[in-house]
Amino acid sequence: MGSDLVNELKLGLIFSVVFHITLVGVSVIGIPSLKRDFKGLPEPIPVEIVQIDDITRVVEPKLEREVAQEKPQAKTPKPKPAFQKPTENLSKNAVPLPDAKPKEKPKTPPKKEAVRLKPKVTPKPKPRPPSKLDMGKIAALIDRSKPKEEVSVAEVKEEDVIKKLEDAVRKNRVNALEARRATASLQAIIRQKVEACWSVPAGAKDADDLLVRLRISLRLDGTLSRPPEFLDRDRLFEGGQEFYRTAAESAARAVRRCAPYDLPKGQYSLWRQIDFNFDPKEMLGSGE
């Protein structure tokens, strides 16, 4: 009885300690490295190549394919020590990871726009550093935290978990790319629309310094859910800022005049809030 209780307590303690270490470990090592990995994607440069036509062409699909191809191979060689060890000695019947992936990957490259890539734009074949994958680290952590005896039960689970995590990461990566593409496309649509609505304040002095930052919030039907919000609001009320106020008001008129914004409903999360930078510099020519 007593020893049972002690055992229970011990277990609880172990659990607690392990749990916290894991938590801290994951948040310190795991997440930042995930993030780094994410950032490591070569920046797609959507803005430059966006011609204002119906379809937006974005650079990254190729890159994505590369990522997709690379990942399975890259995964296997390097993280082997950390990552594969458990799989090796633990299960032979577990689904081999590398195989599972290629089957899924080809589905992920975006269907329509991917094909329309401009041949000019060659993505830099900058291979991501052979996945020093976060997964490995997480797996390692998980591994360490796992008592050796309880192998068979946890093992399948772990397999699942890793897969789940990887799926999540992959999905997110794909989502992010899609989001970027969608963003670029939306940006182009919105820019074209709002530029037509904007009556540039004419002949202002100090055109260099008239950048107006404005935020709008939209409802699903594309109407403004509240008045446009000036991000440099204080400046509106300063003395001697008449030209700025004029520029700001012209910007607010433009975004109001353009409403409702007929944007794809499916991407509402992207355009629910839009920030604008209205800059009359090019139109006015500084000081002239």
């Binding site: 609880g12 659990f15 392990v18 749990f19 894991t22 938590l23 994951v26 948040s27 795991g30 997440i31 995930l34 994410f38 997480i138 998980i142 935290s145 008592p147 946890a154 689970k157 978990v161 789940k164 995590l165 999540a168 989502n175 992010a176 989001a179 963003t183 940006q187 919105i190 709002v194 530029e195 904007w198 009556s199 540039v200 304040p201 004419a202 002949g203 202002a204 002095k205 008045p227 008449e242 700025y244 520029a247 008001e249 910007a251 607010a252 008129r253 433009a254 109001r256 005049r257 992207l270 355009w271 629910r272 839009i274 920030d275 930078n277 800059d279 009359p280 090019e282 139109m283 002239e288």
Partner: protein
């Protein structure tokens, strides 16, 4: 069991964390840079000013006045080139219905971005009370509003003041509609022109002659602070600089110099006049203190220095000189020191005039058989030519520094016709070039400051 749970926990937490990291990215909002836009004039709806108590004033019925005031405002804004008054025929709402709170949808529907409503009533003392409101049709808010009380005969000035208020609110700089122009009205045969000093409103209304044409008058200039004009007149074949007070109608000789005097111009505080005096065939720049009539010599060079003009802060003077070989623009301190050449382009440069805004100097550029209006920054950079005609001369700035007025000489045709001179204006974009209506030929315009 516990281990399993533990593992589950770890997994869940990791998963949740991962999700958080990415959710952050997925929710990044869109940022759009707008660097291009429409440079078309701003569409604006100007309704007739209405009245509740019909009355007849000395200048007509209130209905007539309300219509005329709206007309003058529309014409002012239209001529600025920055606004496009919408044809009242297109209005959906009647002006009377819009007094309390306009139905903005009706104004958006006709493409308007701003709306002006107004009303006027006669006071018991015979004056009229005029009020107006400027509305932003999109934010549905009043941008500005004013009430004025004036004799009904002054309805044009009321309208110009309203135009100024609207212009100021919508462009961020002061207007120039409640201003006047002095110029030389020219009539008669080419060889024997009758030149009369004349004054009119900026839009050509209320035209008056100030001299009778017996003496030759030249280069009128407005005082920046008072309703005063300097000009040159030949009296007994001697050119003299005169001071004319518009309010009192008094002409006064500024100085009876033994030598030739040219191109007088006021300092920004109105207390000095800078001018050219020719002595023994050499022209130099002098400055005269008006209260004391004390004269100081600013330049001392064998070249011809002429056409001086003060910077709006009074610290510098720009002028032209041929000291470098050809006629070019120079800037110096108002004490005559630190003379620097600022124009270096091909051709010659003449009659520099500093903008009241301070950021530009206007000039006449002579080259390729043409006289053209141009502007450059006070350091000589950013030179731009605004007109391209046969002969444009003598620029004068609107008080807000956005518009230049000048006179244009027509070329002679084969039959010897032509050579007439007319007043024109052009804004800083160079696109909004307009004829200024005068009853006769005109030259040497000078823009007044905003009237008080």
């Amino acid at each position: 069991m516990t281990l399993k749970n533990m593992f589950k926990n770890v997994v869940t937490i990791t998963f949740v964390f991962t999700c958080f990291v990415f959710v952050g990215f997925a929710n990044a909002q869109i940022e759009v840079d707008i660097t291009r836009g429409n440079v078309e004039p701003l569409p604006i709806a100007i309704t007739n000013f209405v009245n509740e108590f019909p009355a007849t004033t000395r200048a007509g019925t209130l209905d007539e006045l309300g219509q005329k005031i709206a007309g003058v405002i529309a014409a002012d804004l239209y001529r600025s080139g920055l606004f496009r008054p919408i044809d009242p025929e297109a209005f959906i709402s009647s002006p009377r219905a819009e007094q309390v709170r306009p139905r903005f949808g009706n104004w958006r529907a006709i493409g308007s971005q701003a709306l002006i409503t107004g009303r006027l009533e006669q006071e018991s003392d015979g004056r009229v009370r005029v009020e107006f409101r400027l509305w932003d049709v999109f934010s549905e808010q009043q941008m500005t509003g004013l009430r004025m009380l004036a004799p009904s005969e002054n309805w044009r000035r009321i309208a110009h003041k309203i135009s100024d208020a609207i212009y100021a609110r919508l462009t961020g700089e002061s207007g120039y509609f409640d201003t006047r122009i002095v110029y030389i009205s020219e009539t008669g045969d080419k060889r024997e022109r009758i030149k009369r000093l004349s004054i009119m409103d900026q839009d050509g209304a209320n035209h008056q002659y100030l001299t009778n044409g017996e003496d030759l008058v030249l280069t009128p200039r407005f005082s920046p602070t008072r309703q005063e004009i300097t000009y040159m007149a030949y009296y007994n074949n001697t050119p003299r600089v005169y001071l004319f007070n518009i309010d009192t109608g008094k002409h006064e000789v500024l100085g009876d110099f033994p030598n030739m005097t040219f191109s007088p111009r006021f300092s920004p505080d109105g207390n000095k006049v800078v001018m050219t005096l020719a002595e023994n065939g050499n022209s130099d720049i002098y400055i005269m203190d008006l209260p004391t009539r004390e004269v100081t010599k600013l330049t001392n060079h064998p070249g011809i220095d002429t056409s001086p003009s003060f910077s709006p802060d009074g610290r510098y003077v720009t002028f032209n000189s041929d000291r470098g070989g050809s006629q070019q623009l120079y800037v110096m301190g108002s004490d005559g020191n630190n003379i620097e050449r600022i124009s270096f382009g091909a051709g010659r440069y003449a009659t520099p005039v500093w903008s009241p805004r301070g950021d530009l100097i206007a000039f006449t550029k002579i080259g390729n058989g043409k006289f053209r209006m141009g502007v450059m920054r006070p350091d000589g950079s950013g030179e731009r030519l605004l007109t391209d005609s046969y002969q444009d001369e003598s620029p004068t700035w609107s008080p807000n520094g956005r518009v230049l007025m000048f006179f244009r000489t027509e070329p002679y045709d084969r039959d010897g016709n032509g050579g007439g001179t007319l007043l024109w204006s052009v804004d800083l974009t160079g696109y909004n070039e307009r004829r200024v209506s005068t009853p006769n030929d005109g030259s040497d315009p000078a823009w007044s400051p905003i009237m008080r």
